[in-house]
């Protein structure tokens, strides 16, 4: 098992390097350079020449690339002059806020998705089944920012039930349990928007695999042995139906982050989304590369986790 994990992680390294190269090239080849974000406008030619030299922006591309790769291989992902801190620090600093949205949304959508899947699997291919499918598909078809704005208008503005923006009330500056409650209140609307988004693929796959599993031989065997219906469902069917669900969650990591970015924009949630957007506008290459690498790591890790979960859920699967 350990050898398997080690091998997978080793395989990920060239992938990460490729992503690092790609993001560097993207920013470097894109029109516009970071000098204005760093140095401000209204300067004259001599001023910008001086600034370019200071930040090493006047050195040839090849030289900058070599320096960049050297740093990356040493684990140094760059320094953001705009934020005056190492890029990794900035990115990891904003990660918890984004996870605070994605985590609960994931849990909720998995729970609801499974429930919907069970509901639909009771009578496959009936109108009721299609209705459930359509409802969950609707969630996937709605642009998440449109939904977020809708929620904002109805619940925060019209009904005034929830706050409009941010992660906590700055005036209150609540600590401890009161602080946690404050954050929870702010989380409700963005998490709802994301949950609706994540729901569809999970419900769809849960339904499909449940139908599949329920038709399997070992289920018939269990029934023939006289086992109770709920036991059949819980112990055997659900466990095995979970496998594809887990896969689909693992495959959705990138999709989840993009949904989070859009939701964060609408609710001014201080997470990774805004960091990326402002970094791109300022051509802050250190931050953009770090974020892409972080995402890639997340995808690699989640795929690995999925495979390990497979082994845990299905005793027939063993890795060498």
């Amino acid at each position: 098992m350990l050898a398997f994990v080690a091998r997978r992680l080793a395989q990920a390294v060239p992938l990460l390097l490729a992503v690092a190269v790609l993001t560097f090239l993207l920013i470097e080849l894109a029109p516009g350079d970071p000098i204005v974000a760093l140095a401000g406008e209204d300067g004259d030619a001599a001023y910008y020449a001086m600034m370019r030299e200071r930040f090493g922006l006047d050195r040839p591309l090849g030289e900058r690339f070599a320096a960049y790769m050297g740093r990356v291989l040493r684990g140094d992902l760059g320094f953001s002059y705009r934020l005056q801190q190492p890029a990794v620090t900035a990115v990891l600093g904003r990660l918890p806020a984004t996870l605070l949205l994605i985590g609960p949304a994931l849990l909720l959508s998995t729970a609801i998705g499974l429930a919907l899947g069970v509901l639909a699997a009771r009578r496959p291919h009936s109108l009721g089944d299609t209705a459930v499918s359509t409802v969950s598909l609707l969630g996937h078809a709605v642009p998440v920012f449109w939904l977020a704005q809708l929620l904002l208008l109805v619940f925060a503005v019209r009904l005034e039930a929830f706050p409009v923006q941010g992660m906590r009330d700055v005036r209150l500056d609540a600590q401890g349990w009161a602080g946690a409650l404050d954050v929870a209140r702010h989380m409700v609307l963005p998490v709802t928007a994301l949950t609706v988004q994540f729901l569809a693929p999970i419900a769809r796959v849960a339904r499909a695999s449940l139908i599949d599993v329920l038709g399997q031989d070992y289920v018939r065997t269990a029934v023939a042995k006289g086992l109770h219906g709920r036991v059949v469902l819980g112990k055997h069917a659900l466990r095995n139906a979970l496998l594809p669900v887990v896969t689909v969650i693992g495959a959705q990591v990138g999709f989840m982050f993009s949904g989070a970015v859009l939701t964060e924009t609408v609710f001014a949630w201080p997470g990774l989304g805004r960091l990326l957007l402002s970094a791109m506008l300022a051509r802050d290459q250190a931050i953009v590369s770090s974020m892409f690498l972080l995402l890639t790591v997340a995808v690699v890790l989640s795929t690995l986790l999925v495979d390990l979960l497979y082994a845990a859920l299905d005793p027939r699967i063993r890795y060498g």
């Binding site: 516009g32 910008y48 005056q84």
Partner: protein, 541 residues
């Protein structure tokens, strides 16, 4: 003592102090306090409370002397002071300097500093700080100060701890307009003198200033928290306990937060919402001429004069007659602003002149001009296509212009580019037919206007002479106006240059824009045109 070089003389010390005392003691409270801020209820200011300001961008770092970025100044200006402050008409009033003298030839400016001013860490403020900030920081890293002063300033004298004299090589009239906290904030010498690299110092994230508020906390992309400076040198100020800046990037969300009371003040509202918000009793709307990033701005459409088609003045005039600037004002700015007549903002009274050629909205005339210039309509009705480069935020201008120009057979192709790409394509590659830029006059034409039209400013210099316009007469007029001491003479020179520019039409001036800001009605004493809007703010409950 006071000189014509300042457009409006500052109140001498003996008149100012009692006024301030009067305003603060609350006995016959004035409709406006000493800083010119609103006090409609004629109430006495209450101490205490937290003011939350919603800002649109993360500040990045908090050193206002090394950057002209509005996002830095929106926050950092509240931590520092300049030698003078500027009101909404760009007239100077005392800040760190309690009084000043200007020599008759406008070559020597002497400032007398307040005594007993302390930095947030307790160290005394002296003239050495001023000299250090200018020589080691501003003249090196602050784009506007460096560009405006570097060649002109001969030396800075500090005869004693409370006196600073600036000596210029030749007369320089607009100096006072470049000395507020946004243009020339004063940094502490004892903190920065030993710093190896001012642009990359941890001190920039935990700043020490002389300002009304001192630094408490900065959470990137989330908030900046400041607390009252109890030793602030202006007696009685500030009133608030805490000042918090909350980063809310989406303009709609920011406005919603204000309406719901989650923030107390925001700078910049979507133009379409101004009327609705103005009608709300719980919110006050301001439309100052300047903000934390500049002031007195004119939306300008530049033509690329290096392209043959636009080198022909008839084509440019045709554009001027084809574009309905009133429609732009109505549909893009919802009436908030003014149709522009030339390069200088109408609120800069001493320099503005409307004695210039007019280009009324006349599509028929535009069509005949285009025909005359050799661009007849083709079989499909189009004469030619032209690119129009703009920031995504200015897309609406492009849409109205596209509508107008389509009527006369010109197909405008909109190209939305973010700031860095825009600068690269317009100023570095010069790959455009037309573009739109918000050129800000910035309190004096010598600072913000000259750079757009002088021939020395053509090239890879952001927001300079995009049209590549060359006219030695214009160069001469601008140079002379900057080095003139007499205000009337400066006005005459600027009138002359406006006439010339509007005649030649290297660019087309669309509209003068206003800044917009809004605050909760119970907040008084705000100065929305200033980088430090909450210096004298208080909350009425």
């Amino acid at each position: 003592m006071n000189h014509a070089a300042t457009r409006r003389s500052h109140l001498p010390q003996r008149v100012l102090l009692p006024l301030v005392a009067l305003a603060l003691l609350g006995a016959p409270a004035l409709a406006q306090d000493a800083l010119g801020n609103e006090n409609p209820g004629h109430e006495a200011p209450k101490r205490g409370g937290t003011l939350v300001i919603g800002i649109g961008q993360n500040p990045g770092h908090l050193n206002p002397a090394i950057s002209t970025g509005s996002e830095v100044h929106a926050v950092a200006d509240s931590l520092f002071n300049g030698l003078v402050g500027l009101d909404d008409q760009a007239n100077p009033y005392p800040d760190l300097a309690r009084a000043w003298e200007v020599s008759d030839d406008a070559r020597r400016y002497t400032f007398h500093l307040h005594a007993g001013v302390r930095w947030h860490d307790g160290e005394p403020f002296t003239s050495a700080d001023v000299a250090f900030t200018f020589q080691q920081v501003l003249l090196r890293y602050h784009a506007r100060t460096r560009t405006g002063l570097a060649g002109r300033l001969e030396r800075i004298e500090t005869p004693d701890d409370l006196t600073v004299t600036f000596v210029f090589r030749e007369p320089y009239a607009p100096f006072l307009q470049q000395l507020n906290v946004t243009e020339a904030p004063i940094l502490p010498r004892h903190v920065y003198a030993s710093v190896a690299d001012v642009q990359n110092a941890p001190e920039n994230l935990a700043p020490v200033g002389t300002g009304p508020y001192r630094f408490v906390e900065y959470v990137v992309d989330d908030r900046v928290v400041l607390a009252r400076n109890d030793d602030y040198f202006k007696p009685g100020l500030p009133y608030l306990d805490r000042l918090v800046f909350r980063v809310i990037p989406d303009a709609n969300t920011r406005l919603l937060a204000l309406e719901r009371g989650e923030v107390d003040f925001i700078g910049g509202l979507p133009a379409g919402e101004l009327d609705r918000v103005d009608a709300l009793p719980e919110v006050t709307v301001f439309t100052p001429n300047s903000g934390s990033g500049g002031g007195f701005c004119v939306m300008t459409m530049s033509f690329n004069l290096e392209r043959e088609r636009f080198a022909d003045p008839r084509v440019r005039q045709a554009f001027a007659h084809a574009i309905d600037r009133q429609q732009v004002l109505d549909q893009v700015l919802f009436g908030r602003g003014r149709v522009a007549s030339g390069p200088i903002h109408s609120q800069l009274a001493f320099a503005y002149s409307d004695d210039v050629r007019a280009y009324p909205f006349d599509p028929a005339l535009a069509e005949s001009l285009l025909d005359e210039a050799g661009h007849p309509r083709g079989a499909d009705g189009t004469r030619f296509a032209a690119t129009f480069l703009h920031f995504p935020a200015f897309a609406k201008y492009g849409e109205v212009l596209r509508q107008n120009l389509a009527q006369v057979g010109v197909q405008l192709e909109l190209v939305a580019l973010d700031r860095a790409a825009f600068i690269s394509r317009v100023f570095e590659q010069r790959d455009f037919d037309t573009n739109v830029i918000s050129y800000c006059n910035n309190s004096d034409p010598a600072i913000g206007v000259a750079r757009v039209y002088v021939s020395s400013n053509i090239g890879n210099i952001p927001f300079s002479n995009a049209a590549a316009y060359v006219n030695p007469e214009v160069d001469r007029l601008f140079a002379e106006a900057a080095s003139q001491a007499d205000v009337a003479e400066r006005g005459r020179l600027y009138a002359e240059v406006q006439r010339l520019l509007v005649d030649e039409l290297p660019v087309l001036w669309l509209v003068e824009t206003q800044f917009s800001a809004a605050g909760r009605a119970e907040v008084r004493g705000l100065a929305p045109w200033s980088g430090s809007p909450a210096e004298a703010a208080w909350i009425a409950r």
